[in-house]
Amino acid sequence: MKKKLATVWLDGCSGCHMSFLDMDERLIDLAEHFDLVYSPIVDQKIFPPDVDISLVEGSVSTDADEHKIKLIRERTATLVSLGDCAVTGNVPAMRNAFTVDSILERAFGDRPVTHPEIFQGLPKLLPRVRPIHEVVKVDVFVPGCPPSADTIYTLLRELLSGGSVDVARLTRFGA
């Protein structure tokens, strides 16, 4: 039976997804073994139940991210922190030494706002950006910025066949 695979994009640059796509033709072989049930690259709005593997890119930076990751955790058997933002907080977490207000002020403070309504309903920034495992339990950590296509391929191949991976042999922080 095909496994249910999801890929998630929280606060990150989407580089990890690019790396995922960089598997190129190997994706075709892999696709024999999974259904992509949720992803920024498929048209599915609601995270489905009973997902086997979730690859999560990005850190937890907003209240929406926090809400999402908790739901994903509930509905996922094997949760993978994919890439440095998910694993360490990485670039998004560089704002953590400062307050949210001072960051918003620095970014938007001296710009005239002509359409204030566009800010309504935006997710609220959390006081601190956190790696995923500081919010929910994570099963596999795959550091790298981004992890290479080879790394993701080896990982997925093993996970889909029920094997385990010594990730530190494949990749590292900043790889």
Partner: protein, 548 residues
């Protein structure tokens, strides 16, 4: 150079003066009472005595121990002790010279606080004027030095100290005689003696009090040590926060030099030794001997891996004997009376007495000296007088940030190095903090961890970064923001930081956590799971989600 006969003469003069029937009014001028303006009180007493024509001597003396009842005034002869004396009480104190003491001033010396104590180190504290060398001499001071220099070989002095069973009072408990023997045997013509007076444990003031109350005792102990190990130069490393101790030491060193107890041809012999004061800049880690040595050398006070031990290669890479204030203060009576006399006190492995600074939530706080082997219960409930009204005993903390919290079921533990270790604490330098049911034990652990974190020198990673992480976790627990995983990390860190840190500071920093986890784990779990602090001390934040 002064001779033994002249020493006798000085003592005789002081004694005659005292025996002339004149009353002495002794006002404590150690830091505790001084902070309550005992100097003003002393002035007021002298003035009133003079204006009312009462013949008496108003003197400043060292610490009398019962600091919580200060300012203390004692009247001799008669051994009457007045507590919480204000300048306007001067007349009442003076009245007691004429008539039997007023009823309200019951003789405190007959209370358990004093009766259960036994003074060796503090034998002169509160009795002599610390700024007058003659008074120290009158109590038998510098006799031991004469005895050692004239009648004993250095090896015999080492032997005497070894036979006393004295162990390092700074906390380590290393046999003092063994240490002296190692330095004595070490090769080299230049050797040093260092007195570690960098007392830094929160709530501890034993060494300060000894230095303020009886500084010559320490100088004499150091000089005997120098003779025993073959050193000609000594340093006293005092923290800058002890200005009064520094002032009295400076004066004592000047007086000792004047009478030939320091300098060349000490006591008329060929032995030379002098002492210099070095003032620390307030770093707790400088109480660690290698950091202290680095600081004396003018470098940043950070510890170095041992070996080499200071006894082999210490100050300026020369063999160095380093002992704590209280250790040196024990030496003159041991040499004067004998090692056998000293070793008759205490338990089989812990000899003599120990000075404690009894503080916290207990009725009588202050400085006490007890024979090794008394139980913690005797100290807390007899000497300390037990809990304040309506409070319940919870734990007693010994050994400062390196020590542990001992609960009620272990109160019959005897005070000796091994027994305290068995129950998860240490003897330490002598801080003893009583904790009652209004205190949260997690918060106690957090407090000590904050201390270690800010006092870590930052050199080794486990201590620098490990204490910071442990503090963060304890902070989260006391705020109700911690999860089960935090407790696991905390326990892992306790193990790792104590096993891998470079010096004693880091190696013992987890102890307050380990001991509170051992006896009060329930409190940790309640904070984590029920978000409840049984002592009502911690404010739980309901907002932030706990880490899974």
């Amino acid at each position: 150079m002064i001779s033994v006969e002249e020493l006798d003469q000085i003592a005789e003069t002081v004694r005659t003066e005292r025996a002339q029937g004149r009353h002495q009014i002794n006002v404590c001028v150690a830091a505790g009472c001084l902070a309550l303006h005992s100097d003003t009180l002393k002035g007021a007493l002298a003035e009133r005595a003079q204006s009312s024509g009462i013949s008496c001597q108003v003197r400043g003396v060292g610490c009398m121990g019962l600091c919580s009842a200060g300012p203390l005034v004692s009247v001799e002869p008669g051994a009457i002790l007045f507590q919480k004396v204000k300048p306007e009480d001067a007349d009442r104190v003076l009245d007691s010279l004429k008539a039997p003491p007023a009823k309200q001033h019951t003789d405190l010396r007959q209370t358990p606080f004093f009766k259960r104590q036994f003074n060796v180190v503090l034998e002169n504290s509160g009795k002599i004027d610390p700024e007058n060398i003659d008074e120290y001499i009158a109590e038998g001071g510098y006799r031991a030095l004469f005895h050692a220099l004239i009648e004993m070989t250095p090896a015999e002095v080492v032997q005497e100290v070894a036979s006393s069973g004295l162990r390092g009072r700074g906390g380590g408990g290393y046999p003092t005689g063994l240490k002296w023997g190692t330095v004595a045997k070490a090769h080299g013509t230049i050797k040093y003696v260092i007195c570690n007076a960098d007392e830094g444990d929160p709530g501890a003031f034993m060494d300060r009090s000894v230095l303020e109350s009886d500084p010559h005792r320490v100088l004499e102990g150091m000089t005997i040590a120098a003779y025993a190990v073959g050193a000609s130069k000594g340093y006293i490393y005092v923290r800058a926060e002890y200005p009064l101790a520094v002032k009295r030491l400076e004066r004592a060193i000047r007086e000792a030099r004047r009478l030939g107890f320091l300098g060349s041809k000490i006591c008329g012999t060929t032995f030379e030794f002098d002492i210099e004061i070095r003032i620390g800049a307030g770093a707790f880690v400088c109480g660690e001997e290698t950091a202290l040595i680095a600081s004396i050398e003018g470098m940043r006070g950070t510890p170095q891996p041992r070996p080499p031990y200071p006894a082999q290669s210490g100050l300026w890479e020369k063999p160095t004997l380093i002992n704590n204030v209280e250790t040196f203060a024990n030496v003159p009576p041991i040499v004067r009376r004998s090692g056998a006399w000293y070793s008759a006190m205490g338990t089989p492995k812990s000899k003599g007495t120990k000075v404690f600074a009894l503080t916290g939530q207990v009725k009588n706080t202050g400085l006490i000296e007890v024979p090794m082997g008394v139980t913690l219960r005797e100290i807390v409930f007899d000497i300390g007088g037990g809990m304040p009204e309506g409070r319940k005993f919870k734990a007693v903390q010994t050994g400062g940030p390196s020590g542990g919290c001992i609960p009620e079921q272990c109160l019959d533990t005897r005070v000796d190095y091994e027994s305290l270790k068995e129950v998860g604490s240490i003897m330490g330098s002598g801080g003893m903090i009583v904790i009652d049911d209004t205190s949260c034990m997690v918060n106690v652990a957090r407090y000590f961890m904050e201390f270690c974190m800010s006092e870590s020198c930052g050199k080794c990673i486990p201590c620098r970064a490990g204490t910071a992480q442990m503090y963060d976790i304890l902070q989260r627990i006391t705020r109700g923001q911690a999860g089960e995983r935090d407790l696991e990390l905390l326990i892992d860190l306790c193990d790792m930081v104590s096993a891998t840190s470079l010096c004693g500071l880091g190696q013992t920093a987890p102890n307050p956590v380990i001991s509170t986890l051992r006896y009060f784990k329930q409190e940790y779990l309640e904070h984590i799971h029920a978000k409840r602090c049984v002592a009502g001390e911690c404010r739980m934040a309901a907002t932030q989600a706990a880490r899974s």
